[in-house]
Structures are given as C-alpha cells and as structure tokens.
C-alpha cells in the first residue's frame, strides 16, 4: 500500500506544479512529473514477488515471470511522453518569440 500511495503522491506533486506556478517551463516540468508517476503505477501493478524479467533463457527450468502486459503498454507510453514534451517546448519557444516573456498572466493580457 505504501508503494501505491507514493505513486499518487508523485502525481499530486506534478498536479500542484501545473495548477499553481506561473512560469511556462515549470508547467512543462509538472506535466513530465505526472507522466513519470502514471508509468510507474502501471508497472508496479504487474510485479510479482520472486519473479524475474520476462525473457525465456535456455538453461532455466520452470521460472516465475512478472506480468509482461503492463510493460508492453508502458513502453509505448514512455516514447509518446517524449514526443508531447518536445511539442510543448516548441510551443513555449514560439510564445517567447511572440510575447517576449514566459509568464502566463501577462500572456493573457496582451491580445494579439
């Protein structure tokens, strides 16, 4: 139960950063922390005590494997997280080029 709750704590730290901070780069960092927390939770659900990595080797007899299904889902999710972080950084650079600041309150006041 401690492991599950620490995943939720990591998610809530990222959510606090997105909701409260004013700098755009800090908001991107908050979204990245939330992605790490969700991937961690999925992999934790599949762990088995005494299990090994799900790779069949020649010499082992009757091994105990961890669950390979959440690992397959998280593998693609990690790469998608990188692509969305790159897109957010691209949008942030465009905003800085147009408004001259990273502050989200000032971006609202200037209407194009």
């Amino acid at each position: 139960m401690f492991v599950y709750l620490s995943c939720v704590v990591l998610l809530l730290i990222g959510l606090y950063c997105v909701a409260v901070k004013k700098n755009l780069v800090k908001i991107i960092i908050g979204v990245a922390i939330m992605e790490y927390a969700v991937n961690l939770f999925l992999v934790v659900l599949g762990y088995r005590h005494g299990g090994t990595a799900p790779i069949i080797q020649a010499g082992l007899k009757d091994p105990l494997f961890v669950d390979p299904l959440p690992q397959a889902l998280v593998l693609t999710a990690i790469v998608i997280g990188l692509a969305t972080t790159a897109m957010m950084v691209a949008i942030a650079m465009r905003i800085y080029d147009r408004y001259g600041t990273f502050d989200v309150t000032k971006i609202r006041k200037l209407k194009g």
């Binding site: 139960m1 950063c17 961690l40 088995r48 069949i56 998280v74 950084v89 194009g112």
Partner: protein
C-alpha cells in the same frame, strides 16, 4: 523491498525540489534526477526493456529542455502572488489522496497480481511467435494494433512540433502595433 521504498522517497524529494526551486536550471536537473531514479526502479521491478528506454528518453528530454529554452538567458522564475489561492489547491490534493487510499483497498496486494490475460502469453508465446523476449512478442505480434496507434500519435506530435516552428510568417508584436 527496502531499496524500492528508498528510491520512491528519493523520487518524491527530487520532485519537490524541482517544483519549488527558483532557478530554472536547477529545476530541470532535478527532473532529470527523478527520471534516472525511475529507471533504476524499473530495473528493480524486473523490466529491463523499460529501463533502457526510460534512460535514453530521459537524456533526450533533458537535452531538449536545456538547449532550447535556457539558451535565452532567462534563468529566474517570476516571483509575486501566485496564480490561484494555493490553500484551495492543497485542500483539494489532500482530499484526492484520502479518496485514493480508500479506492486502493480493492486492488490486489503488491506482489501478487492476478494475471488472467498474461498467463496465455507466457505459456504460448514462444511457440506461437518464436521470439524469446516476451514483451517484444506482445507489442509486435499479439497487440500490434496498439503499436500502430502509437506510431500514428508519434507522427502527429512530430508534425505538430515542426509546423509550430516554421520560419515564414513570424511577426513580432511591434510590427503589428504599427500596422
């Protein structure tokens, strides 16, 4: 699992440092530390595929964040009154934490998963696909539709990022004020 608990505490402390620090470069480096801690946690949980992928993805994300935004010499964050009253936010977050504590009572205990679907993949995987790496046989043979969907999402995100940064049609704010 003492190492697992210690690494989780390390990741939480690193995330708090990344959120609360006033210098942007220190925050980015703290997020990098959280990502590397996550890579070691994946190794402890028996997922070497994920550890390799998380390591290189973390390095690339650090390079993009540092090179693209901090080259503009804006290392300080903005001080002053914060965006919403953060008392309401903290109350809401504590309520979510309490609700999730009750929701997690119905999950299986940590370390004893149910594995109703994966049992078929483990028993018949080598014979039906011929691949000894079971995770690869799941993403490229049993569940190849999901990989096709992921390739589409990746393509869309990259096309979006490249389109946003096109160099034709850049107008600065001062030029529009004059017009």
């Amino acid at each position: 699992m003492l190492e697992l608990n210690l690494l989780l505490i390390f990741m939480a402390v690193g995330a708090i440092i990344a959120v609360e620090n006033h210098n942007l470069l220190s925050s980015v480096i703290a997020v990098g530390a959280v990502g590397f801690g996550l890579c070691i946690v994946f190794l402890l949980l028996g997922a070497p595929d994920l550890a390799i992928t998380q390591l290189v993805v973390e390095i690339l994300a650090l390079i993009i964040l540092i090179r693209a935004t901090l080259a503009k010499s804006v290392p300080e964050t903005y001080r002053g009154r914060e965006l919403h009253s953060y008392v309401i936010t903290v109350v809401f977050l504590v309520a979510v934490l309490a609700a999730s504590f009750f929701a997690f009572q119905s999950l299986p205990k940590f370390g004893y998963p149910i594995m109703s679907v994966a049992q078929t993949y483990i028993e018949e995987g080598l014979q039906r696909t011929g691949a000894t790496n079971l995770v690869t046989s799941v993403i490229l043979d049993f569940r190849a539709y999901d990989t096709l969907g992921e390739a589409t999402v990746l393509f869309t995100a990259i096309v979006g990022a490249i389109t946003v940064l096109r160099l034709k049609g850049r107008k600065k704010l001062s030029e529009e004020d004059k017009a």
